[in-house]
Symmetry: C2
Subunit: 246 residues, 2 copies
């Protein structure tokens, strides 16, 4: 039997498949019950392996949850990079990423809450080094997708360079996006702010930041309704549910 260094052996494939099975069920439990209201015994029963086997894949419950979050974040980065290929002016491409993030948030309604959990050092310290690095890597991909467009926008003159650096602009967009996704899920705030469509609220805040940055064309200078329809058609053809929002 030849040793295949390139393609994984049957054992390795089974190991990977099982890991994905575990992650799938853990994700479901996390979505249904949050972090606390399920335990490793329940998960073991759900995946039809023993608890000991779970711990061959994940060093702790926190490590497992970080694994779930990283899987999600990878999808987010994929969507960001896909959206960045949108043909149009820089601000339109940035807008496409905004849509990508909303698409992601709808597919993963618990992601931002879980991600906030991860920001507790006491939480993330219980996860393995590798998984922490994998998570940081996917986070970097998201950052870079936005940052690249902003650098290009500055080079083209769409975005003034004298107000903020490209990095400050990227940080502003990411902050407002995460903050808006979190706050728009808050029941009290939803009532106060009269939020009917959470994703629309998020994108409005992104628009405000972009206008504040002076990113041409400004909101009132361009027919972004047409852009939105193109984004939905070209980048997210499956997201027909959004047509009303655009």
């Amino acid at each position: 039997m030849p040793i295949q260094t390139s393609s994984p052996s049957r054992k390795e494939r089974e190991f990977i498949a099982r890991e994905e099975l575990i992650l799938k069920h853990a994700r479901r439990l996390l979505l249904e019950k949050g972090f606390q209201a399920w335990n490793m015994d329940q998960l073991a029963e759900a995946v039809e392996y023993s608890k000991g086997t779970l711990y061959q894949h994940f060093s702790s419950k926190e490590d497992l949850v970080l694994g779930v979050a990283t899987q999600s974040l990878r999808q987010r980065a994929d969507l960001f990079e896909q959206a960045a290929t949108f043909q149009g002016r820089t601000r339109e491409r940035c807008r496409a990423i905004g849509f990508a993030c909303c698409e992601f948030a709808m597919a993963h309604p618990d992601y931002f809450h879980t991600d906030m959990l991860l920001k507790s050092s006491s939480f993330v310290e219980k996860a393995s080094q590798e998984r922490r690095e994998a998570h940081a890597f996917e986070g970097m991909r998201c950052w870079r997708a936005v940052n690249t467009i902003i650098i290009e926008a500055m080079a083209l003159g769409d975005l003034p360079k004298d107000r903020v650096t490209a990095e400050q602009a990227t940080f502003a967009l990411i902050s407002v996006t995460v903050g808006s996704h979190i706050m728009s899920q808050e029941p009290n705030l939803k009532v106060f702010a009269g939020i009917k469509d959470q994703m629309q609220a998020v994108r409005l805040n992104q628009d405000l930041i972009c206008d504040g940055l002076g990113w041409k064309p400004l909101l009132h200078e361009h027919d972004y309704r047409a852009t939105d329809l193109r984004i939905l058609k070209e980048i997210f053809p499956s997201a027909s549910k959004w047509l009303k929002a655009a």
Copy 2:
């Protein structure tokens, strides 16, 4: 002995004092170790009361943490309302609240992380109804402090009414603020974004939102450096550490 309905009896005063003692030590543990890495036995030992006594004040560990967070949030609301009295144009007063929030964030470096914990339904469900209501009340005070200024700004014509409603504007400011506070604590992002002063990063993002809203006078139309010095002198005279940032 006359029954005093107005002023609390000695017993009641002792009860309140003990509750504050418990909250004080719980806050310290929370700041030092996060949520998980301390237990009720350690807290009982620290306050020199038994665990049973702790549970006469708080229905669960989560209830206790919510109590700590609400105490903090009350201070935040106090600072907001104090800052709102700043004499100046509406945007300057909003800016004063921005400073208040930074002042608060420096005094409570763990607050936003804890607050994110609270947003997990599985967490807050374990807290008592009264404490949940108390927390919502203080949150509302913060919201109102901002919202009131925005309504006034729209009435005075400082803030255009045709772009967004007062509530949308308030939501945008709160979202960017919370998002920026959280993200500016993220070590990876701090490196990518080259953040040296976290609070300055937060306030820059607030400025971008205000400019995006068209809130007069815009950043480049006014000497906000002078405003900042006045805010620090008149509202936060103790915050001399900030003079460099202003």
